[in-house]
């Protein structure tokens, strides 16, 4: 990958360490399912039925300090990388099946701000277009330093 690709450009935020509140105590995981990778999960899994589902780009939870507390809590999850994963047509079919068969309530796609990440939104939209049921679709864009850049129903 060349240097001109913003998705893989080297950046250093190490100056930023120790920002924000220092925490004491343990933070509980909000994950309530396994597996989570979109190729591995089945839309038939009980944890998807009629739920609010997050489709999250692989890098997001590393950037977002409060991912568990602010986003994962109360939701079901699938993760994927639109840039590196293969056979993404299977992803489209799985999204369709989540909507039509698992009858999920909403789908939130959470991506990084880098341009290649928007591919995951395209995958979600393609799945939603193929589905006969219609559901609300949300896009959340996360900045490289863990800030929420936008959160919109699309």
């Amino acid at each position: 990958m060349s240097d001109c690709c913003p998705g893989s450009k080297t950046m250093d935020f190490s100056e930023k360490t120790d920002q924000g509140d220092s925490e004491t105590g343990k933070r509980p995981s909000q994950l309530r399912q396994w597996p989570i990778q979109l190729h591995l999960v089945s839309p038939q899994a009980p944890y998807y039925q009629e739920k609010d589902v997050m489709l999250v780009a692989d890098c997001v939870p590393f950037a977002l300090g409060d991912f568990h507390k602010d986003f994962l809590k109360g939701k079901s999850l699938a993760i994927a990388c639109p840039k590196l994963d293969s056979e993404q047509e299977i992803y489209v079919e799985k999204i369709k099946s989540l909507i039509d068969d698992a009858k999920i309530n909403t789908l939130t796609v959470q991506i990084m701000q880098v341009p290649c990440c928007s591919g995951l939104v395209q995958v979600a939209k393609a799945g939603a277009d193929k589905a006969t049921r219609k559901i609300p679709l949300k896009q959340v864009v996360v900045g490289l330093e863990g800030d929420i850049l936008s959160e919109d129903w699309i």
Partner: protein
């Protein structure tokens, strides 16, 4: 103390200090003409979702207007911080309601041409008036307002003043329509004009309030789970009347526009 003002009813605040009405209007908050007016000042300001800076300045000015003698610290205004006007992002079900407003507004835009036509013709074209009434009753009221009343408003405190004002507007609208029908039946052109215009004024303001203030305020309170539910409930309501109904009413408006807007441009 600011808190004592915040928990007072807006109408009473404006009555004691009319300057507050002017200040609110400057910020696009039009409480002066409100018929109910028992919203708390804090709710009135809160529902407009001003940025913290603007809200602090607004509250400072209100307090200063009411109690000029009080020693109130002026909020620091950070002029470097420009707040970009944010485009409203409605949740999908609410976005559909906003789109329905568009067709209703097209009807409202036709009212002056229609009443002019009625005034200048010999008798009263009863069929024309009743066609408009059918649109208002079948589309604006039954199809659209019912989704608000039976579904959307249930997600917030229905007894709250803000929703009560909306209910009251819906009722006032129904009354205007009844009066317009009476005018058409008795051949009273002035009555038709008065109440179709009354409806136009009312609904124009009502739709603006919903699009810009009420709907975004409701959306901000909804969880994702509720957004999904609301969408399914509204879709089910639409399915129960069938796809044909909104299409038929859109066709009705297109035909009216053909007839009346062409005549205007001639």
């Amino acid at each position: 103390m600011l808190s004592d003002i915040q928990s007072r009813e807006i109408k009473e605040v404006i009555e004691t200090c009319p300057e507050v009405g002017n200040i609110l209007e400057e910020y696009g908050i039009g409480c002066v003409p409100c018929s109910v007016g028992s919203c708390y000042l804090s709710d009135v300001v809160g529902i407009h979702n001003l940025d913290p800076q603007t809200e602090a300045t607004l509250m400072y000015r209100i307090e200063k207007a009411m109690y000029p003698d009080r020693d109130i610290p002026e909020p620091k205004v950070d002029l470097t911080k420009k707040v970009a006007p944010k485009e409203i992002n409605y949740s999908p079900a609410v976005r559909n309601l906003v789109e329905e407003h568009v067709l209703i507004k097209r009807m409202l835009a036709l009212i002056p041409a229609i009443t002019d036509y009625v005034d200048s013709s010999d008798g009263v074209d009863k069929e024309l008036i009743m066609g408009c009434v059918d649109f208002i009753r079948g589309y604006a009221d039954k199809f659209h307002h019912m989704k608000e009343e039976d579904i959307l408003f249930k997600y917030v405190d229905e007894l709250g003043e803000i929703i009560q004002v909306m209910y009251k507007d819906h009722d006032t609208g129904r009354n205007h329509v009844r009066q317009a029908v009476e005018g058409a039946e008795s051949g009273n052109k002035a009555q038709i004009r008065e109440h179709l215009f009354g409806y136009k004024e009312l609904l124009t303001q009502h739709i603006k309030k919903e699009d810009e203030i009420l709907y975004p305020w409701i959306d901000r309170q909804l969880t994702d789970k509720q957004v999904g539910e609301l969408f399914q409930k509204c879709s089910a309501a639409d399915a129960s009347v069938g796809e044909e109904l909104p299409r038929r009413y859109e066709k009705f408006i297109i035909d009216l526009e053909e007839k009346f807007l062409k005549e205007v441009s001639k």
